[in-house]
């Protein structure tokens, strides 16, 4: 452990990875309970794949990948939502249509790109040790925005996640909250992709929320536990990756799964005794 901390100070890339873990832990921990409660896990999976098309298009037209990836992610999330909220096709229908469409576009853009095509493997599986200062700034801004969103609209998010139909009936601006959630989700996926990659990023956005729900008695608790679980997984995973010389993204995912198993197996299955009436 001592060697890990001294290397953190000594090696700039490791220090950047340390800070990136903090921001990813916070933003994924904050968003995960909303994604899990609203059952939009597949949208986040689709958004992650949509960023692939965005990055490939950025390579094709030789521009910075970040804004194009953000645009692709938002386009996917809002597109799925726009069509499914009209109730003529389900959310899963639209994800099933949009996800292969965006992947096909990504593959097409890669095949059309002339000359050197950067290694897409790093993008698909991520590498926290390659995080740049620009990536870190973007992560910081997204982490602050997501924290602000959750803090400012906590009650609205809670009502929307619990019972969207009735929340709308009682005057909660659910469409506004829904689209803000999708915006935060899209930004978070793009910001976290450098660390976990398209394939693994969903573990960060889903597992902490599911695990936290096993023990939380309120939505507030669920968010706090989710952030703590996510932060622990990020740091312990980073440390494990350092010790075992393994890709940190994978060790973070293993830690998240370990947390899930631990809480799943220790979750009380019986009805707790409610106060006597």
């Amino acid at each position: 452990m001592k060697g890990f901390f001294s290397d953190l100070i000594q090696y700039h890339f490791l220090f950047l990875a340390f800070l990136a873990s903090l921001f990813v832990g916070v933003l994924s921990g904050m968003l995960s309970p909303i994604i899990v409660s609203r059952k939009i896990e597949y949208i986040s999976d689709g958004v992650a794949h949509a960023t692939f098309a965005g990055v490939a298009f950025a390579f094709l037209i030789s521009v910075s990948t970040l804004p194009v990836a953000v645009l692709a992610a938002i386009l996917f999330a809002f597109g799925v939502s726009f069509f499914s909220r009209k109730q003529r096709a389900s959310e899963n229908n639209m994800i099933g249509i949009f996800l292969p469409l965006f992947m096909a576009l990504g593959i097409l853009f890669v095949s059309l790109t002339k000359g050197y095509v950067p290694d897409m493997m790093g993008f698909l599986f991520g590498n926290i040790l390659l995080v740049s200062e620009t990536d870190l700034w973007f992560l910081l801004v997204v982490a602050i925005a997501v924290t602000g969103f959750v803090a400012l609209f906590f009650r609205e998010i809670q009502f929307y996640a619990f019972d969207e139909g009735m929340a709308k009936h009682y005057g909660v601006p659910v469409a506004f909250i829904h689209y803000l959630t999708l915006l935060c989700l899209s930004l978070s996926v793009v910001a976290s992709v450098k660390i976990a990659g398209v394939i693994l990023v969903n573990a960060f956005l889903i597992t902490p929320g599911v695990t936290a729900r096993f023990v939380a008695k309120s939505f507030k608790q669920m968010i706090v536990y989710s952030v703590l679980l996510s932060l622990f997984a990020c740091y312990f995973g980073l440390y494990l990756g350092y010790r075992l010389n393994a890709p940190p993204g994978t060790t973070m995912v293993f830690t998240l799964f370990g947390e899930f198993l631990l809480f799943y197996l220790s979750k009380p299955r019986k009805k707790p005794s409610l106060p006597k009436r």
Binding site: F162, D163, M166, H169, Y170, G171, S218, F219, P275
Partner: protein
């Protein structure tokens, strides 16, 4: 009893995928009226309520209502595993009064607690709703609906999944609230005995409205008109109807 109607439904029809779900529904509800809608599965009862509360928009005809509607939906809409305290569920009913960018005050929370006490589950105020029984859950939904200070309370099968004792005390609570506040109630139920006992007026619905009359005057022919071939099975299980209405 006769005053200006608080709800007017006129020639409402609704079709889905080429099938008629509701056809030419017309009725009005008076201030303070307690009306029950009965009919077989697939008769369009819940759809009619969803049209009235505004959940379904693509229908023809008109629905006129001024005031607030408190709505207790079917239990299947409930997300069981979501960690939310009972008082927070009730607070949803107070949301419109508070609005966006404002936090609930301590007075709001006290009101939530009072409402839970009012429906007999005050001691569960701080408990997550995950492990609530069917009866406790329906009382919670009623507390949320009345927190909204509704002029009309709409309930969709509130007795589903609730035991006999729970049903009786729920209806007692409903009657008490209505008496105190002089508000109207529109109820959909499969329990014909309970509806005939509790409601002032009955609507027999099976895609179209077959009758809308005083509960005391509902005849076996009225029920037969909507339940058709299931009527004989139904009447065997409805002791109340046999006793009260067989002659």
């Amino acid at each position: 009893m006769k005053s200006a109607p608080i709800l007017e439904v006129s020639q409402v029809s609704y079709e889905k995928s080429g099938h008629d779900i509701l056809s030419g529904i017309t009725f009005s509800l008076q201030q303070g009226e307690f009306a029950g809608i009965i009919g077989p599965n697939g008769a369009g009862k819940s759809t009619l309520l969803q049209i009235i509360v505004g959940e379904i928009k693509r229908y023809t005809g008109t629905v006129r209502f001024s005031g607030r509607i408190g709505y207790v939906p079917q239990r299947k809409d409930f997300q069981r595993d979501f960690p939310i305290k009972a008082r927070e569920v009730v607070a949803m009913g107070l949301y419109r009064r508070r609005g966006i960018f404002r936090f609930f005050s301590s007075e709001d929370w006290e009101e939530c607690h009072r409402l839970l006490e009012r429906v007999g589950i005050g001691e569960l105020s701080e408990e997550p709703v995950t492990f609530f029984s069917g009866g406790e859950y329906q009382r919670l939904m009623l507390a949320r609906a009345i927190a909204y200070h509704p002029d009309l309370l709409i309930l969709d099968e509130p007795e589903a999944g609730v035991d006999e004792m729970g049903k009786a005390s729920f209806y007692e609570l409903l009657a008490q609230w209505r008496k105190e506040r002089q508000r109207s109630v529109l109820l959909v139920s499969h329990d014909i005995g309970l509806v005939l006992n509790a409601c002032d007026t009955i609507m027999c619905l099976n895609k179209s409205l077959h009758c809308h009359k005083d509960a005391a005057t509902v005849s076996s022919e009225d029920l037969r008109s909507v339940y058709t071939e299931d009527f004989d099975i139904l009447i065997r299980g409805t002791h109340h109807f046999e006793k009260e209405h067989s002659q």
